[in-house]
Protein backbone atom coordinates (compact mmCIF):
# COMPACT_ATOMS: atom_id res chain seq x y z
CA UNK A 1 0.00 0.00 0.00
CA UNK A 2 2.83 2.38 0.86
CA UNK A 3 4.62 1.78 -2.47
CA UNK A 4 1.40 2.09 -4.44
CA UNK A 5 0.43 5.21 -2.52
CA UNK A 6 3.81 6.83 -3.12
CA UNK A 7 3.57 6.07 -6.84
CA UNK A 8 0.05 7.49 -7.13
CA UNK A 9 1.03 10.59 -5.15
CA UNK A 10 4.18 11.21 -7.18
CA UNK A 11 2.31 10.77 -10.48
CA UNK A 12 -0.56 13.01 -9.40
CA UNK A 13 1.79 15.65 -7.97
CA UNK A 14 3.88 15.63 -11.14
CA UNK A 15 0.77 16.14 -13.26
CA UNK A 16 -0.38 19.03 -11.05
CA UNK A 17 3.05 20.70 -11.23
CA UNK A 18 3.00 20.27 -14.99
CA UNK A 19 -0.42 21.93 -14.93
CA UNK A 20 0.87 24.96 -13.02
CA UNK A 21 3.13 25.88 -15.94
CA UNK A 22 0.05 27.21 -17.74
CA UNK A 23 -1.10 29.18 -14.69
CA UNK A 24 -1.01 32.97 -14.63
CA UNK A 25 1.94 34.06 -12.52
CA UNK A 26 1.36 34.97 -8.89
CA UNK A 27 -0.19 38.38 -8.30
CA UNK A 28 -1.14 38.96 -11.92
CA UNK A 29 -4.11 41.41 -11.95
CA UNK A 30 -5.18 40.07 -15.36
CA UNK A 31 -5.47 36.47 -14.15
CA UNK A 32 -8.78 34.81 -15.13
CA UNK A 33 -9.82 34.48 -11.49
CA UNK A 34 -9.62 38.27 -11.04
CA UNK A 35 -11.27 39.39 -14.25
CA UNK A 36 -14.83 38.14 -14.63
CA UNK A 37 -17.13 38.73 -11.69
CA UNK A 38 -14.71 40.00 -9.05
CA UNK A 39 -14.12 43.54 -10.48
CA UNK A 40 -17.87 44.05 -10.47
CA UNK A 41 -18.03 43.09 -6.80
CA UNK A 42 -15.16 45.44 -5.93
CA UNK A 43 -16.51 48.42 -7.86
CA UNK A 44 -20.20 48.16 -7.03
CA UNK A 45 -20.33 46.79 -3.47
CA UNK A 46 -20.22 50.13 -1.68
CA UNK A 47 -22.97 51.74 -3.74
CA UNK A 48 -25.18 48.64 -3.75
CA UNK A 49 -24.90 47.48 -0.14
CA UNK A 50 -23.08 50.34 1.68
CA UNK A 51 -20.73 47.78 3.25
CA UNK A 52 -17.03 48.66 2.88
CA UNK A 53 -15.86 45.10 3.55
CA UNK A 54 -16.40 43.40 0.20
CA UNK A 55 -15.88 39.93 1.64
CA UNK A 56 -18.79 40.39 4.06
CA UNK A 57 -21.04 41.83 1.38
CA UNK A 58 -20.31 39.03 -1.08
CA UNK A 59 -20.63 36.41 1.65
CA UNK A 60 -23.99 37.43 3.06
CA UNK A 61 -25.65 39.27 0.19
CA UNK A 62 -24.43 38.39 -3.31
CA UNK A 63 -23.78 34.78 -2.33
CA UNK A 64 -26.38 34.61 0.44
CA UNK A 65 -27.74 31.23 -0.63
CA UNK A 66 -24.28 29.67 -0.55
CA UNK A 67 -23.64 30.96 2.96
CA UNK A 68 -27.06 29.84 4.16
CA UNK A 69 -26.36 26.30 3.07
CA UNK A 70 -22.84 26.43 4.51
CA UNK A 71 -24.49 27.30 7.82
CA UNK A 72 -26.85 24.36 7.36
CA UNK A 73 -23.83 22.12 6.70
CA UNK A 74 -22.33 23.23 10.02
CA UNK A 75 -25.68 22.72 11.77
CA UNK A 76 -25.94 19.24 10.26
CA UNK A 77 -22.39 18.41 11.36
CA UNK A 78 -23.24 19.38 14.94
CA UNK A 79 -26.45 17.34 14.93
CA UNK A 80 -24.69 14.37 13.28
CA UNK A 81 -22.01 14.40 15.97
CA UNK A 82 -24.72 14.49 18.63
CA UNK A 83 -26.62 11.57 17.12
CA UNK A 84 -23.46 9.51 16.58
CA UNK A 85 -22.02 9.86 20.05
CA UNK A 86 -24.60 10.95 22.59
CA UNK A 87 -25.35 8.30 25.20
CA UNK A 88 -28.63 9.11 26.89
CA UNK A 89 -28.66 6.18 29.33
CA UNK A 90 -26.38 7.23 32.11
CA UNK A 91 -24.57 4.51 34.02
CA UNK A 92 -23.56 5.58 37.48
CA UNK A 93 -19.83 5.60 38.00
CA UNK A 94 -18.48 3.29 40.73
CA UNK A 95 -17.27 6.24 42.76
CA UNK A 96 -17.41 10.00 42.99
CA UNK A 97 -14.59 12.34 43.85
CA UNK A 98 -14.98 15.49 45.90
CA UNK A 99 -12.45 18.11 46.87
CA UNK A 100 -12.66 19.95 50.16
CA UNK A 101 -12.09 23.50 49.00
CA UNK A 102 -10.41 25.05 52.10
CA UNK A 103 -7.94 22.23 52.70
CA UNK A 104 -7.59 20.66 49.26
CA UNK A 105 -8.20 17.14 50.62
CA UNK A 106 -9.93 14.87 48.11
CA UNK A 107 -12.72 12.56 49.14
CA UNK A 108 -13.67 9.34 47.34
CA UNK A 109 -17.31 8.34 47.80
CA UNK A 110 -18.24 4.84 46.64
CA UNK A 111 -21.40 4.16 44.73
CA UNK A 112 -24.57 4.24 46.89
CA UNK A 113 -22.51 5.42 49.84
CA UNK A 114 -23.87 8.16 52.05
CA UNK A 115 -22.54 11.66 51.37
CA UNK A 116 -21.45 13.94 54.22
CA UNK A 117 -24.27 16.05 55.56
CA UNK A 118 -22.90 19.43 54.58
CA UNK A 119 -21.54 19.53 51.04
CA UNK A 120 -21.08 23.30 50.82
CA UNK A 121 -17.33 23.21 51.18
CA UNK A 122 -16.89 20.43 48.63
CA UNK A 123 -16.72 20.58 44.87
CA UNK A 124 -17.11 17.53 42.69
CA UNK A 125 -14.08 16.68 40.57
CA UNK A 126 -13.34 14.12 37.88
CA UNK A 127 -12.52 10.53 38.82
CA UNK A 128 -9.12 10.94 37.26
CA UNK A 129 -7.77 13.15 40.00
CA UNK A 130 -7.23 16.75 38.87
CA UNK A 131 -5.03 18.95 41.01
CA UNK A 132 -6.39 22.32 42.02
CA UNK A 133 -4.70 24.61 39.55
CA UNK A 134 -5.01 28.21 40.63
CA UNK A 135 -2.85 29.68 37.86
CA UNK A 136 -4.71 27.99 35.01
CA UNK A 137 -8.12 28.78 36.47
CA UNK A 138 -7.35 32.43 37.19
CA UNK A 139 -5.60 32.90 33.85
CA UNK A 140 -8.54 31.50 31.92
CA UNK A 141 -11.00 33.50 34.01
CA UNK A 142 -9.14 36.63 32.93
CA UNK A 143 -8.94 35.63 29.27
CA UNK A 144 -12.51 34.42 28.72
CA UNK A 145 -14.42 37.74 29.09
CA UNK A 146 -12.00 39.54 26.81
CA UNK A 147 -12.12 36.85 24.17
CA UNK A 148 -15.92 36.94 24.25
CA UNK A 149 -15.93 40.70 23.95
CA UNK A 150 -13.54 40.41 21.03
CA UNK A 151 -15.83 37.82 19.42
CA UNK A 152 -18.79 40.17 19.67
CA UNK A 153 -16.66 42.92 18.16
CA UNK A 154 -15.64 40.63 15.31
CA UNK A 155 -19.30 39.83 14.57
CA UNK A 156 -20.59 43.38 14.91
CA UNK A 157 -17.69 45.08 13.14
CA UNK A 158 -17.60 42.66 10.22
CA UNK A 159 -18.89 45.41 7.93
CA UNK A 160 -15.84 47.63 8.35
CA UNK A 161 -12.98 45.31 9.24
CA UNK A 162 -12.05 41.68 8.64
CA UNK A 163 -14.56 39.62 10.56
CA UNK A 164 -18.06 38.25 10.51
CA UNK A 165 -20.32 35.61 11.90
CA UNK A 166 -18.14 32.60 11.18
CA UNK A 167 -15.01 33.97 12.81
CA UNK A 168 -16.79 35.53 15.77
CA UNK A 169 -18.81 32.38 16.36
CA UNK A 170 -15.68 30.26 16.45
CA UNK A 171 -14.04 32.62 18.98
CA UNK A 172 -17.16 32.51 21.18
CA UNK A 173 -17.24 28.71 21.00
CA UNK A 174 -13.54 28.58 21.82
CA UNK A 175 -14.06 30.72 24.93
CA UNK A 176 -16.67 28.26 26.23
CA UNK A 177 -14.40 25.32 25.42
CA UNK A 178 -11.58 27.12 27.24
CA UNK A 179 -13.74 27.41 30.35
CA UNK A 180 -14.55 23.70 30.18
CA UNK A 181 -10.85 22.86 29.79
CA UNK A 182 -9.68 25.12 32.59
CA UNK A 183 -12.21 23.77 35.11
CA UNK A 184 -13.90 20.55 34.04
CA UNK A 185 -16.60 19.43 31.66
CA UNK A 186 -19.24 19.44 34.39
CA UNK A 187 -18.70 23.13 35.16
CA UNK A 188 -18.71 23.90 31.45
CA UNK A 189 -22.08 22.17 31.09
CA UNK A 190 -23.41 24.00 34.13
CA UNK A 191 -22.47 27.32 32.52
CA UNK A 192 -23.53 26.60 28.96
CA UNK A 193 -25.79 23.56 28.91
CA UNK A 194 -26.32 21.05 26.17
CA UNK A 195 -29.96 22.03 25.74
CA UNK A 196 -28.98 25.66 25.21
CA UNK A 197 -26.36 24.62 22.67
CA UNK A 198 -28.83 22.51 20.67
CA UNK A 199 -31.46 25.26 20.76
CA UNK A 200 -29.01 27.98 19.73
CA UNK A 201 -27.60 25.94 16.89
CA UNK A 202 -31.09 25.64 15.45
CA UNK A 203 -31.91 29.26 16.27
CA UNK A 204 -28.99 30.59 14.21
CA UNK A 205 -30.13 28.76 11.09
CA UNK A 206 -33.69 29.87 11.80
CA UNK A 207 -32.64 33.54 12.02
CA UNK A 208 -30.88 33.26 8.67
CA UNK A 209 -33.68 31.44 6.89
CA UNK A 210 -36.46 33.59 8.37
CA UNK A 211 -34.67 36.80 7.34
CA UNK A 212 -34.83 35.47 3.80
CA UNK A 213 -38.50 34.57 4.20
CA UNK A 214 -39.24 38.02 5.65
CA UNK A 215 -37.84 39.60 2.48
CA UNK A 216 -40.22 37.39 0.50
CA UNK A 217 -43.17 38.49 2.65
CA UNK A 218 -42.23 42.12 1.99
CA UNK A 219 -42.47 41.50 -1.72
CA UNK A 220 -38.90 40.89 -2.87
CA UNK A 221 -36.96 37.73 -3.62
CA UNK A 222 -35.65 35.35 -0.97
CA UNK A 223 -32.69 36.95 0.89
CA UNK A 224 -33.12 40.21 -1.06
CA UNK A 225 -32.50 42.49 1.94
CA UNK A 226 -33.46 45.65 0.06
CA UNK A 227 -37.08 44.82 0.93
CA UNK A 228 -36.34 45.34 4.63
CA UNK A 229 -36.11 49.10 4.03
CA UNK A 230 -39.79 49.61 4.93
CA UNK A 231 -39.25 47.68 8.17
CA UNK A 232 -36.19 49.66 9.28
CA UNK A 233 -37.32 52.95 7.78
CA UNK A 234 -34.10 53.45 5.82
CA UNK A 235 -33.23 53.46 2.15
CA UNK A 236 -32.85 50.06 0.45
CA UNK A 237 -29.04 50.29 0.28
CA UNK A 238 -28.68 50.78 4.04
CA UNK A 239 -31.30 48.08 4.58
CA UNK A 240 -28.97 45.66 2.79
CA UNK A 241 -26.22 46.32 5.31
CA UNK A 242 -28.70 45.82 8.19
CA UNK A 243 -29.88 42.57 6.62
CA UNK A 244 -26.27 41.39 6.37
CA UNK A 245 -25.75 42.14 10.07
CA UNK A 246 -28.83 40.11 11.10
CA UNK A 247 -27.70 37.19 8.99
CA UNK A 248 -24.16 37.36 10.38
CA UNK A 249 -25.53 37.27 13.93
CA UNK A 250 -27.50 34.15 13.02
CA UNK A 251 -24.38 32.54 11.57
CA UNK A 252 -22.39 33.48 14.68
CA UNK A 253 -24.94 31.92 17.06
CA UNK A 254 -25.12 28.74 15.04
CA UNK A 255 -21.35 28.34 14.66
CA UNK A 256 -20.76 28.97 18.37
CA UNK A 257 -23.33 26.38 19.42
CA UNK A 258 -22.00 23.77 17.00
CA UNK A 259 -18.40 24.26 18.15
CA UNK A 260 -19.51 23.80 21.77
CA UNK A 261 -21.59 20.73 20.91
CA UNK A 262 -18.70 19.15 19.03
CA UNK A 263 -16.37 19.83 21.95
CA UNK A 264 -18.72 18.44 24.62
CA UNK A 265 -19.45 15.26 22.71
CA UNK A 266 -15.98 14.45 21.43
CA UNK A 267 -14.06 14.94 24.69
CA UNK A 268 -16.44 12.73 26.68
CA UNK A 269 -17.33 10.25 23.89
CA UNK A 270 -20.94 11.38 24.20
CA UNK A 271 -21.41 10.65 27.90
CA UNK A 272 -20.97 14.30 28.86
CA UNK A 273 -19.81 13.59 32.39
CA UNK A 274 -16.04 13.62 32.45
CA UNK A 275 -13.35 14.34 29.97
CA UNK A 276 -10.44 16.69 29.42
Amino acid sequence: MKVLGTLVVLLFGGLLIYGTLDFPSWGDPAAPASTHVSPRYIERTLEETSVPNIVTAVLADYRGYDTMFETIVIFTAGIACLFLLRVIKREEAEARMYRHIPTGITLRVKQRARLPESMEEFERIDLMWVPYDLIVKTGCRLIIPFSQLFALYVIAHGHHSPGGGFQGGVILGASIALYAISTNLRSGLAWFGEKAAVLLCGLGVFIYASTGALCMLLGAGYLDYGALSTLFGVDPVTARSHGILIVEIGVGISVMAVMVLLYYNIVSAGRQDEGL
Binding site: V58, A77, A80, I266
Partner: protein, 131 residues
Protein backbone atom coordinates in the same frame (compact mmCIF):
# COMPACT_ATOMS: atom_id res chain seq x y z
CA UNK B 1 19.02 29.67 -16.89
CA UNK B 2 17.92 33.30 -16.60
CA UNK B 3 14.54 32.40 -18.19
CA UNK B 4 13.86 29.90 -15.47
CA UNK B 5 14.11 32.31 -12.54
CA UNK B 6 10.92 34.33 -13.30
CA UNK B 7 8.97 31.10 -13.80
CA UNK B 8 10.31 29.78 -10.51
CA UNK B 9 9.39 32.96 -8.66
CA UNK B 10 5.89 33.19 -10.06
CA UNK B 11 5.07 29.50 -9.59
CA UNK B 12 6.89 28.42 -6.46
CA UNK B 13 3.90 29.08 -4.18
CA UNK B 14 1.73 26.70 -6.22
CA UNK B 15 4.43 24.06 -6.01
CA UNK B 16 4.60 24.38 -2.23
CA UNK B 17 0.82 23.91 -2.02
CA UNK B 18 0.99 20.91 -4.34
CA UNK B 19 3.72 19.42 -2.14
CA UNK B 20 1.53 19.98 0.95
CA UNK B 21 -1.46 18.50 -0.85
CA UNK B 22 0.53 15.43 -1.82
CA UNK B 23 1.72 14.96 1.76
CA UNK B 24 -1.93 14.97 2.84
CA UNK B 25 -3.01 12.64 0.05
CA UNK B 26 -0.16 10.26 0.86
CA UNK B 27 -1.24 10.18 4.49
CA UNK B 28 -4.82 9.41 3.48
CA UNK B 29 -3.71 6.56 1.19
CA UNK B 30 -0.75 5.00 2.99
CA UNK B 31 -1.21 5.56 6.72
CA UNK B 32 -2.67 2.74 8.73
CA UNK B 33 -4.07 4.69 11.65
CA UNK B 34 -7.46 6.35 11.16
CA UNK B 35 -6.54 9.49 13.13
CA UNK B 36 -3.46 9.93 10.96
CA UNK B 37 -5.68 9.62 7.90
CA UNK B 38 -7.87 12.41 9.25
CA UNK B 39 -4.80 14.56 9.87
CA UNK B 40 -3.76 13.89 6.27
CA UNK B 41 -7.20 14.91 5.07
CA UNK B 42 -6.87 18.18 7.00
CA UNK B 43 -3.43 18.89 5.54
CA UNK B 44 -4.95 18.36 2.08
CA UNK B 45 -7.79 20.76 2.90
CA UNK B 46 -5.33 23.38 4.16
CA UNK B 47 -3.32 23.10 0.96
CA UNK B 48 -6.45 23.74 -1.12
CA UNK B 49 -7.37 26.72 1.07
CA UNK B 50 -3.87 28.21 0.69
CA UNK B 51 -4.07 27.65 -3.05
CA UNK B 52 -7.35 29.55 -3.34
CA UNK B 53 -6.10 32.45 -1.21
CA UNK B 54 -2.98 32.59 -3.37
CA UNK B 55 -5.13 32.87 -6.52
CA UNK B 56 -6.80 35.98 -5.11
CA UNK B 57 -3.56 37.95 -4.74
CA UNK B 58 -2.73 40.94 -6.95
CA UNK B 59 0.44 43.01 -7.09
CA UNK B 60 0.23 46.41 -5.37
CA UNK B 61 -3.29 45.75 -4.13
CA UNK B 62 -4.65 45.90 -0.61
CA UNK B 63 -7.19 43.85 1.34
CA UNK B 64 -10.74 43.89 -0.08
CA UNK B 65 -12.08 46.53 2.30
CA UNK B 66 -12.84 49.80 0.57
CA UNK B 67 -10.60 52.53 1.95
CA UNK B 68 -12.21 55.42 3.83
CA UNK B 69 -15.57 53.64 3.55
CA UNK B 70 -18.40 56.10 3.29
CA UNK B 71 -16.17 59.16 3.65
CA UNK B 72 -14.55 58.49 0.31
CA UNK B 73 -17.12 60.65 -1.44
CA UNK B 74 -17.31 59.94 -5.12
CA UNK B 75 -13.84 58.54 -5.59
CA UNK B 76 -13.96 55.80 -8.16
CA UNK B 77 -13.16 52.38 -6.77
CA UNK B 78 -10.72 50.64 -9.06
CA UNK B 79 -10.71 46.86 -9.09
CA UNK B 80 -6.96 46.89 -9.57
CA UNK B 81 -6.38 48.42 -6.11
CA UNK B 82 -8.08 45.62 -4.19
CA UNK B 83 -7.32 41.93 -4.18
CA UNK B 84 -9.91 39.49 -5.44
CA UNK B 85 -12.50 38.99 -2.63
CA UNK B 86 -14.11 35.89 -4.09
CA UNK B 87 -11.52 33.26 -3.00
CA UNK B 88 -11.57 34.79 0.48
CA UNK B 89 -15.36 34.42 0.68
CA UNK B 90 -15.23 30.82 -0.46
CA UNK B 91 -12.40 29.87 1.90
CA UNK B 92 -13.88 31.68 4.90
CA UNK B 93 -16.81 29.30 4.91
CA UNK B 94 -14.63 26.35 3.90
CA UNK B 95 -12.42 26.74 6.98
CA UNK B 96 -15.34 26.59 9.41
CA UNK B 97 -16.98 23.76 7.49
CA UNK B 98 -13.63 21.93 7.64
CA UNK B 99 -13.68 22.21 11.44
CA UNK B 100 -17.27 20.94 11.59
CA UNK B 101 -16.55 17.98 9.31
CA UNK B 102 -13.43 17.24 11.35
CA UNK B 103 -15.74 16.98 14.35
CA UNK B 104 -17.94 14.46 12.55
CA UNK B 105 -14.86 12.48 11.45
CA UNK B 106 -13.58 12.34 15.03
CA UNK B 107 -17.03 11.25 16.23
CA UNK B 108 -16.97 8.39 13.73
CA UNK B 109 -13.45 7.45 14.86
CA UNK B 110 -14.63 7.35 18.48
CA UNK B 111 -17.48 5.02 17.45
CA UNK B 112 -15.03 2.77 15.56
CA UNK B 113 -12.78 2.65 18.60
CA UNK B 114 -15.69 1.77 20.86
CA UNK B 115 -16.61 -1.15 18.62
CA UNK B 116 -13.17 -2.57 17.73
CA UNK B 117 -10.90 -1.20 20.51
CA UNK B 118 -8.34 -0.19 17.89
CA UNK B 119 -7.80 2.45 15.25
CA UNK B 120 -5.32 0.50 13.10
CA UNK B 121 -6.95 -0.24 9.79
CA UNK B 122 -5.57 -3.77 9.33
CA UNK B 123 -6.60 -4.81 12.83
CA UNK B 124 -10.10 -3.46 12.25
CA UNK B 125 -10.35 -5.40 8.98
CA UNK B 126 -9.15 -8.58 10.74
CA UNK B 127 -11.78 -8.12 13.48
CA UNK B 128 -14.47 -7.49 10.89
CA UNK B 129 -13.58 -10.77 9.16
CA UNK B 130 -13.85 -12.68 12.44
CA UNK B 131 -17.42 -11.56 12.99
Amino acid sequence: MSDLVPILISKVNYWVYIALMMIGLWAVIAKNNLVKKIIGMNILQTAVILFFISIGAKYNATIPIIMHGHDAGHHAVNAIDYINPLPHVLMLTAIVVAVATLGVALALVIKVHQKYQTLEEDEILAKMDEQ
